[in-house]
């Protein structure tokens, strides 16, 4: 067990001696007969509890503790005082300069209890500090880990996709029907794995990154996202996009999360089209006012069964026969929750789906 180290400060030598006599068996005791001497001891020794008399020439107990609090915040401070010092005492307590005060003359049991309690506080605070440092370290490690994992997983995958690109350029891709089929299968597997890695990272980042407020230009965001997701989905060239952005007001919000939300919904609208539909259509409307941005994304695709509608936002829920991780809409919901936004969905099987999102404007 650690021996508790106590510093006792009093200008009267008699008090110092009687404190020592009472407590020297229980604690490791240091004494000082002035504030200056006490600061000197604190600069050399780590003590757990500091007890000081209030009335001392040169520097009062409260004055001493104000200094101690600034220079050595860890030791717990106990003030000894007479009833006449109430004014100074009230201030010191309100400023958080002292942990406890004890009226003079002190009695042994009361003072001993106070020292014990003070040490408990000291220990708890220190443990908390250590835990905090430990957590900070784990957190940093986790961030580094995620970064390296995302690279270690994505790098070879990007290489594989690179080989496929090269095969296309060298005309190996279309050499035979079988070859074409195998290359396309491989490409699709790689793309799917890539999507899974990206969405897992997105989810992770969403749960950890703090919100950043920036100006959002919805027209640009939506056009960029459509370009990205058209590239990622073969066959999406035939889809017609009707985009109507009505943004007369400045919108300030978290662009990173808004892109996650809209990106996932646009990607779904592209993916879940009816293959036989001739006029594939995705309509995106944005209305911005001072308070909120309302985005609706309407497609004429496969639609969602009524039974499924209230489950689509669950983690790992996915409709049978459909590819995907079951993470997309879950990530959308989590990201919207961070923005204090709302989402609703209406859908009719075989005729399409309409998502409506409301994101508060922080401008």
């Amino acid at each position: 067990m650690t021996i508790i180290k106590v510093l006792y400060v009093d200008d009267e030598e008699n008090n110092l001696s009687s404190f020592k006599a009472n407590f020297r068996r229980l604690y490791e005791i240091y004494t000082a007969n002035s504030g200056a001497a006490a600061l000197d001891i604190l600069s050399q020794t780590e003590v757990h509890v500091v007890i000081s008399d209030q009335r001392m020439p040169g520097m009062t107990g409260v004055e001493l503790f104000k200094k101690v609090k600034k220079l050595y915040p860890e030791p717990i401070r106990i003030l000894l005082t007479g009833y006449t010092d109430i004014q100074a005492l009230a201030e010191a307590i309100n400023d958080g300069d002292i942990y406890r005060y004890i009226t003079k003359p002190w009695n042994e049991i009361e003072l001993n209890n106070s020292i014990q309690n003070a040490y408990d506080v000291f220990r708890t605070r220190r443990e908390l500090k250590e835990k905090l440092a430990e957590l900070q370290k784990t957190n940093d490690e986790l961030n580094r880990f995620i970064y390296s994992i995302s690279h270690e997983l994505r790098a070879p995958l990007a290489s594989a996709l690179g080989v496929i690109n090269l095969a296309k350029l060298d005309n190996i891709y279309n050499e035979s029907e079988k070859g074409n089929e195998y290359w396309s299968l491989m490409e699709e597997c790689c793309n799917r794995l890539d999507y899974n890695i990206t969405s897992t990272l997105q989810y992770y980042k969403n749960s950890r990154y703090s919100e950043v407020k920036e100006d959002v230009d919805f027209n640009k965001v939506i056009h960029d996202l459509i370009a990205i997701h058209k590239l990622a989905n073969t066959g999406s060239e035939q889809i017609k996009f009707e985009i109507n952005v009505d943004q007369p007001e400045k919108f300030v919000g978290d662009v990173f999360r808004i892109e996650i939300i809209l990106g996932n919904l646009i990607s779904n609208a592209i993916k879940y089209q009816k293959p036989e539909e001739e006029n594939k259509l995705i309509q995106i409307d944005v209305k911005v006012n001072r308070l909120v941005a309302v985005v609706t994304i309407i497609d004429n695709g496969l639609g969602i069964l009524n039974d499924h509608l209230n489950r689509i936002f669950n983690q790992f829920f996915r409709v049978h026969n459909q590819k995907g991780t079951g993470l997309g809409l879950f990530i959308v919901r989590e990201a919207l929750a961070k923005l204090e936004g709302k989402i609703s969905v209406e859908s009719v099987v075989d005729s399409g789906t309409k998502f409506t999102i409301r994101i508060p404007n922080s401008a």
Partner: protein
Amino acid sequence: MPLKAHTPNLLIIVDDSSFDLRINSGIASHTKLFKQILCFPSAEEALDFLSENLDNREVFPHLILLDIQMPSMNGFDFMKRYNKFPDSFMEQSDVIMLSSTDDLVDITKVDVDKNIKRLLKKPLQIEELKGAAQELYTID
């Protein structure tokens, strides 16, 4: 706006992955924009080559495709030394960074360094490489 340089003589690819050197030099040769392609498996070797050929006219103008994540000396370490080359060198040399992640920290670092012309994501797409080269050079 500085005048665009003529068709680059050289494409220099720096990547620790022998796969990616093979793939990206393959893709680059399909662009038919470069007279010659040189591959280096580490940042150190590429820097050695560049410093030894500071006065060799045949090395200029050139474009460098630089991978970010490499052991011992990564893409940003490369840039620290690259940025100390003389102005006459810089006028005829361009750098495009390649990364397999879209890590925000990397993107911010690329934004800060004015000598990095672009950040492209792996896998390298031929259209993106062509587009970037057409922005930097007048292609005959």
